[in-house]
Amino acid sequence: MSDITTVDARGLSCPQPPMLALQAMKKLGKGEMEVLVDTVAARENVSRAAKGAGWDVTVEEQPGGYYRIALKK
């Protein structure tokens, strides 16, 4: 992982993953960031929130059973 903003939302309950991701997106404004989640529901919620805020979303499944959601604007 590089020095880009990372929101580690693994293991957190609803609605914290999309909420924390949105807060970070707002703070960053634009650029690149990543969100880590470990359930499909959180992956869907974060992706939907990011798309709604106008970010490009790429999801990568990681070894160890979690997802890295790369966001770009």
Binding site: C14, V40, R48
Partner: protein
């Protein structure tokens, strides 16, 4: 498979789930369930608590197959779509307390959010005060979330952990069918350990197999669509995301139409089935429930679906609900159609204080 997943994660997933519940809940009433109680997760948890002898309110004792179906239907969906993921460790004790207090609040109102919407759709205008209370409670919970409230992280758990709640549900199903009567009362009549109501709401139920299958279908649909009757309001306010709200609105509209078609729509405040007219405590009870559900991350139905997909913390919340339902009837906290019970109001106040302290103090521990 991916196209099915995509469909359910779209706006249509919750809408389809809401439409199904909206049609089927009133039909369950026609088939025998109590009035405006086609589905009520809290009332049904209370009936299960009574059937297990955790309380002796003889009119509300029955093992509701819908609840069993919710968990097992979600389990089946999670297994098919590879989302079965045993996990635990996010403040289970606090979740147990939240489950208890959510049930105390809901039983002062006489219904969980599912039933609040179904009562509204059946013309029970007392539900309006409950739903306003629910929205206020969720709003307070959102305030805590914005301030950094968190119950902390769950960790992946052993596979076996995820099977515990489904196994408990299978045992409940066996107890429902076998209904063992090993005990004897003073005059030698068989009694317990499983108790079923001979009269009252507990005696009113749809046929077991129909209720179970409907529960399985709802559990399956809701696991796929993430249907949540509290998340609907929470996400709309907090995230400006109305996806789940469409599901709840579909439920209310379709349940209204179905009730109308079945002749079960009776508008008014007085003489509503399993309801009372104390607006203040209808409001306050659901405010407590809404706050507790929000702090725990979802409505009682969602907690059942999550426990079916392996979430051990949601399973602890469900355990808190069942134990809390027992306590609510032992200590005269739960209301009855004649009104609020002796210790209902004070319990709601204590519950609000406890939930506010939880909201203010629980933060994620820094590693």
């Amino acid at each position: 498979m991916t196209s099915i997943s995509r469909f359910f994660s779209s706006r249509w997933g919750p809408i389809i789930t809401g439409i199904f519940v909206g049609v089927i809940a009133p039909v369950l009433v026609t088939l025998g369930n109590p009035g405006n109680m086609g589905i009520c997760v809290v009332c049904f948890s209370r009936d299960i608590a009574g059937a297990l002898g955790l309380h002796q309110a003889s009119v509300v004792q029955y093992i509701r197959p819908e609840i069993i179906g919710f968990v097992l239907g979600a389990l089946i969906a999670a297994l098919i779509f590879r989302e079965f993921k045993p996990r635990t460790g996010s403040a289970p004790l606090v979740r147990f307390l939240l489950g208890m207090f959510a049930v105390f609040g809901a039983l002062v109102f006489l219904g969980c959010p599912w039933r609040a919407y179904l009562r509204l759709a059946g013309g029970d205008w007392n539900a309006i005060f409950g739903i306003i209370g629910l929205i206020v409670g969720i709003g307070i919970g959102i305030g805590f979330l914005r301030m950094g409230f968190s119950l902390g992280r769950s960790r992946p758990g052993p596979k076996a952990l995820g099977w515990v709640m489904p196994a408990i549900m299978v045992v409940l199903l066996i107890l429902l069918i076998v209904a063992p009567q090993f005990g004897r009362d003073a005059s030698g009549n068989p009694v317990g350990p499983i108790f079923f109501s001979a009269k009252g709401p507990g005696s009113q139920h749809a046929p077991i197999i129909i209720a179970l299958v409907i529960g399985l279908v709802i559990g399956f649909l809701a696991q796929r669509s993430r249907f949540c009757t509290v998340g609907a309001i929470r996400d709309t306010i907090l995230l400006r995301d109305a996806r789940l709200l469409y599901g709840v609105l579909a439920l209310i509209v379709v349940a209204f139409i179905t009730n109308f078609a079945l002749g079960q729509f009776h508008p008014g405040f007085a003489d509503q089935p399993v309801a009372h007219t104390d607006s203040l405590w209808n409001f306050a009870g659901m405010a407590l429930a809404g706050l507790a559900f929000t702090l725990a991350g979802g409505c009682p139905g969602r907690q059942l679906f999550l426990s079916g997909e392996g979430d051990g913390d949601a399973a602890v919340f469900v355990s808190g609900m069942i134990v809390g339902a027992g306590i609510a009837h032992v200590y005269t906290i739960a209301s009855s159609p004649s009104g609020v019970a002796a210790f209902g109001p004070i319990t709601v106040i204590v519950g609000l204080v406890v939930c506010i302290v939880i909201g203010l103090t629980m933060r994620e521990a820094k590693a």
